[in-house]
Structures are given as C-alpha cells and as structure tokens.
Symmetry: C3
Amino acid sequence: MRHGFIFNPTFVALAGNKVKVFSGIFEVSTGGEVDSVNITNQITETVRRSNVESGIANVLCLHTTCGLYINEDESRLKQDVQKTLGRLVPKGGGYGHDSIDDNAHAHLRTILLSSTLTLPVSGGRPVLGTWQKVFCAEFDGPRARTIRVQVLGE
Amino acid sequence: MRHGFIFNPTFVALAGNKVKVFSGIFEVSTGGEVDSVNITNQITETVRRSNVESGIANVLCLHTTCGLYINEDESRLKQDVQKTLGRLVPKGGGYGHDSIDDNAHAHLRTILLSSTLTLPVSGGRPVLGTWQKVFCAEFDGPRARTIRVQVLGE
Amino acid sequence: MRHGFIFNPTFVALAGNKVKVFSGIFEVSTGGEVDSVNITNQITETVRRSNVESGIANVLCLHTTCGLYINEDESRLKQDVQKTLGRLVPKGGGYGHDSIDDNAHAHLRTILLSSTLTLPVSGGRPVLGTWQKVFCAEFDGPRARTIRVQVLGE
C-alpha cells in the first residue's frame, strides 16, 4: 500500500520570548450516573485569560472515575460512547475492587480513555479540528468534577 | 510483590533561554477504509524545521474518525490493531449516531485511541524508543487527513 | 439534560521567565508477565531535580509492550486493570504478529492505554488529584523498563 504524503508544513508561529505559565481550575457538574459533558468553552476561556498567544494547554481531570476524550458533540454519539464503554466494561463485572467501592467499572472505563490531554494554543485559543470538542466523561456520577488547565507559552 | 527500582536519572538538557513556539501542519493520504500510517518521519521533519533543540512536540490529529497511537511498524501488527478495534467496536453495531452518518464505529474507535499525544524533543529530534513509531489510524477512509505538530522549547 | 457549570478559574501561576528544559530517565523492574507499577514517586523526584517550579512534565514509556495510565493505587483495582485488558485483548487471540513474536496481545493492550502522558507542574511538583497515581502497565514481563520524563517551564 502506498501513501501519498503531501508534506506542506505551515509555520504559523515562531517566537523568542519569555515563557508564561498559567493555571486555571474549573468545576463541572455532571448530570447522571454516566454523562459526557462538553468542556471546550471552559478550556477556551481559561486559555483566553492566560494571555498566552502561542503554546500549549494541558488539561487534567483530577479524578479516577471520570476521564477525558476528544470527539464530536452529537447527542446520539455521546450516548454511543457511554453504551460502548458500558458494553466493554460492564458494571458489576466481577471486579475485585467492587468489594471496596462498587465502582470498579468507572475506574476501568476512565483508564480506557485518559485523564490528561494536551492541545496546541495559537492566536490565544486552543486548536481543535472543525468537529472536535473536549469532553469530560462521567462514569460514577452525578458529581461536581474539577478540571485543571495549565497553559504554557508566550 | 516487590519492585526493584533503579533510580538513575540522566540529565540530558538544562537550559535557560527564551521560549520558541513553532507549528507545522502536514497532510497524510490514508489508503483504505481502515489503515495505519506511520507519520514519524513527518513529525521528525517538522521538529527539525522548528529549530527547537530541547522541548516537546505536541501532535494533534484534527479529525473525529481517525486517531493516533504509538507502537511498532510491523505489517501484521498494524492489521492486528485494526482487527482488534473492529472486534471491540464493530461497524454497524446498533449505534445511535449511525442514523445520521453511518460511521459511529469510526468515532468510537478514535475515542479508544486518542487524538493528541506529546513527545519530548532532544537534540532537535522527537524522542521515541527503539521500536516506537507514531501512527495515524484511519477508521473512515480513504481520505486526506491533517496533522498539526506544535513544537515548544528552546 | 442541563449542566450547572461553576466557572471559577483560579490563577495559581503567572510568570515571565526564561524557559528551562530538563530530562530525567529512570528504570523500573516489573514483577511478572503482567504488572502495574506505581511510578509517581520517580516522576515527582525527577521534577524536583529539574528545579522547574511551574510548567509541565511529559512522561514517555520507551517500549511497545508496556504502557502508562493514571488511576488509584489499590491492589485489587490493579488486578482488575490487567484482567480487563486480558479479557478485551486475550493472549493468543489469533493475531498475525504472533507468528513473529508471540506477544501481539502486549502490543495491542499498550495501544489501548497510551505510551505518553503530560502532567502540570506547580510548586515544583507534578499535579495529580487526591487519588491519582501514574502507573507503568507491563504486558510482556518481567523486564527492566525505561521511563523518560521531560520537564519544561520556569
């Protein structure tokens, strides 16, 4: 199989300045036992307040039973995400951790997603594709969840 | 169980300089409905052009139906990756999103991988282990896909 | 469904200084064919030695048959992680790569986790939630595994 690479890099930022490091924390209230909440606006707002023009934004979900993913904000797809993770890692699937906390499935689904992701920042905004949004995926809610955004750049 | 940690950090870079931020964008043409394309050379070339000697490179796949992963470039393994994701998230598996777009499986497989990853940069090159390569995993192709690399450092 | 966002960003760091880039490498001996080893202390120690007060720490596992994840350090949960990945991607599941190396399952489980993750650094320490720890998940051990931590900031 051959792949026709079109290698056409566009250099959108080149700077030599002092580094800025900035942290913002926000909370999100999830709306059910499982839920997928679009947190893109909160990330964008945190980046805006950082005054970082070019750099990166690191997003960390500070919990072990909800995670992060990037995809489209379409209501049926959000349900498909939760149903698919529920099928792959069913609740009460004979997990050892359930003898303590009854939420092993929520930990395991979080591990299949991830707890942290990093985005480019350009023009003072996080960069995402046309259909990409960042979601907080709740697996043991409803709860108030804390997200931290670390912005680094110039 | 005991773990014999050998804690022997090697300090390969220590700098105090102005920060550089650099962005490169390249396209990759995927070769089938599903495909795994090694994009390591394109990432390496983007880092080289950034003139960043030490720092990080953030890679973002700007789509919702193809993702990124790091592993070995071995042809049968690349097929195993696609077959395994196809088994875990079969096409036409009764997803709600299929009533709109018929590609829910491609979104869901992308979510199980990831859309963004970050690598160290050292000596003007992205750092990877001996057998590690970065792949763009197509789940709804063939298409031209856009990858963005943000390089930050000095 | 409505989500009650509490948008209350806390700005914990704002700096304008020269950037520091620092790399530390450490080894971890895994204790079985599969194993989950908490490497949080090693990451914390590497960040401490970097003298970076605010920034990010990029963690890279330099192998293709063991990966990284963030979750709770509870012994039964660690077993649940390995059992769940073993159920989703069984050893000897008819993989093409097994004709070469007999460890396709270990590559595939690594791909379902990830090989690299990035954490915020604040107050000279990596930031994690109360119950979050970083794990190296072995799928083809026991072996000595190498982890690289790149610290960037000021």
